[in-house]
């Protein structure tokens, strides 16, 4: 799980183009949205694309994403349970 969390953090930084942010800056249990990172609805959509491309998980709508993207930890749990690649 630690490995997946690290991978997710790196993926998030890359797809959201979080210039100057390192994986260590992201607390796996802290809220991804509404926190220091300043992410918005478009970032959520980019994370949905990330889930699809990298892990073969299709989320049908943004409201489904809301629960998954609470924190990096919840993302990791969801990915490990649902990934198809």
């Amino acid at each position: 799980m630690e490995e997946l969390i690290q991978e997710l953090k790196e993926g998030i930084i890359e797809v959201l183009n979080l210039d100057g942010v390192t994986p260590e800056d992201i607390d796996a249990d802290a809220p991804l949205f509404g926190g220091d990172l300043g992410l918005d609805s478009i970032d959520a959509l980019e994370l949905i694309v990330l889930m699809d491309k990298k892990y073969g998980i299709k989320l049908k709508d943004p409201s489904e994403g809301k629960k998954v993207f609470l924190s990096v930890a919840t993302m990791a749990k969801f990915v490990s349970e649902n990934r198809t690649k």
Binding site: D40, S41, I42, I48, V49, D61
Partner: protein, 398 residues
């Protein structure tokens, strides 16, 4: 005293018909034009769209012109609508030296570029011209059939483009730069923006349901519409009968987010207020609001808030005719303006199809067709980036 601006011609093409006559009968019968994709080449067959029920070849035939490989669907749709508007206003080729055209589009020739994009590296000159077709070229291509206009211009503010073209044209008249300006917009469906809206996850897999509790996004549509705007002096000199008057308009920026509207609908509120102020009207003077009403959870809530802020408890009848046509994006402003003109002339309230349940804190739209004497109509068009605009059409009863 603001010099009055009249509308002396109108032309429209959308999923519910070519021309005002077909459009009127579909609006009255409550027949939607949204359905299964028949002309657009996309793998997303499950997404309903409001296509104009004509192939490009059929449009070329209707226009009576020789086919040209450079023709874009946007240009063909635009020509059909522009021809009807010019005809109604009695504007012939020899008169265009004094007629300006302000058109609008965002998609422009993207329908052609996306077909060839993969081969562009090795394409010939003709396909390079196709690939670099811009919004301005789109306007030139639409105009070319009719003659030499005094000037051409192209506005591109996404889904409020056509309304902003009206505003530019009207300001040109008021400033004394012109006596007649034809304004409007044209937009064809493209794989590009269908997929873009799909990536934004705001497309409803069913028929769109503006202002409904269970609304799940918009359906994309296509079409074109043009209005002939004319000063009082020119109307008198030419002895033409105006269809109605453009009483006011407003343009404001929500300045909130590139794709989301603000929760309180600040931009929408400002655009509508400005239009009312210019028209010298109170909210109570408005008899019907043709809403932007895309059917996305965000727009319809934000627009509801803005309408409630401005109109208070006495909200006039509201409907979104995007339930007939889908969201015709850059062309929607003037397509819906033509619907408003028809409502004024034929005394009816266009119905908001597919509405069943009231949304929390939302407005309740016109769900059943109704006859109504209308004097003043407010029409909204909001675009990405918060480019929000409104206009007011008025019938001056003698």
């Amino acid at each position: 005293m603001i010099e009055p601006i009249y509308i002396t011609g109108a032309g429209v093409v959308s999923a519910i018909g070519v021309g005002k006559e077909q459009t009127l009968s579909a609006l009255n019968a409550g027949t939607t034009g949204i359905g299964t994709m028949a002309y657009l080449d996309s793998c997303h067959r499950d997404i309903p769209v409001g296509e104009v029920k004509l192939s490009n070849d059929e449009m070329v035939q209707m226009l009576g012109v020789d086919n040209d490989p450079l023709f874009t669907r946007t240009a063909l749709l635009g020509r059909l609508a522009l021809r009807e508007a010019l005809d109604q206003a009695g504007l012939t080729r020899d008169m265009l030296a004094d007629v300006h055209l302000v058109s609008s589009t965002t998609v422009g020739g993207m329908d052609r570029r996306e077909q060839n994009h993969a081969q562009e590296k090795t394409c010939d000159r003709l396909h390079a011209v196709m690939g670099t077709h811009s919004c301005g070229n789109s306007t030139q291509m639409i105009a070319a059939q009719f003659g030499q206009f005094a000037s051409l211009s192209t506005v591109s503010t996404a889904c409020s483009s056509a309304t902003n073209a009206v505003i530019t044209g009207a300001n040109m008249l008021r400033c004394g730069l012109a006596d007649i300006v034809v304004v409007g917009g044209s937009e064809s469906l493209s794989k590009f923006h269908l997929n873009g809206f799909n990536a934004l996850m705001i497309l409803d897999r069913q028929q769109c349901r503006p202002f409904d509790r269970d609304r799940a996004g918009l359906n994309l549509g296509e079409g074109a519409a043009y209005l002939v705007l004319e000063t009082a002096r020119s109307v008198k000199a030419r002895g033409v009968t105006p269809l109605c008057r453009l009483a006011g308009y407003g343009n404001a920026c929500d300045a909130f987010h590139q794709t989301a509207s603000s929760p309180d609908g600040e931009g929408a509120y400002r655009a509508m207020s400005e239009a009312l102020e210019m028209a010298g009207m109170k909210p109570a003077d408005i008899d019907y609001i043709n809403a932007h009403g895309t059917g996305t959870p965000n727009n319809d809530l934000s627009e509801s808030q803005a309408i409630k802020r401005l109109f208070g408890p006495e909200i006039p009848p509201v409907s979104s005719t995007k339930s007939f046509t889908g969201h015709t994006t850059s062309a929607s402003g003037t397509i819906e303006a033509v619907f408003c003109l028809l409502a004024l002339e034929h005394h009816f309230l266009p119905v908001n199809l597919n509405w069943q349940n009231a949304m929390e804190e939302g407005i309740v739209p016109v769900a059943e067709p109704r006859q109504a004497e209308l004097r003043n109509i407010l029409s909204n068009a909001f675009g990405f980036g918060g480019n929000d605009s409104s206009m007011i059409f008025t019938i001056d009863h003698a």
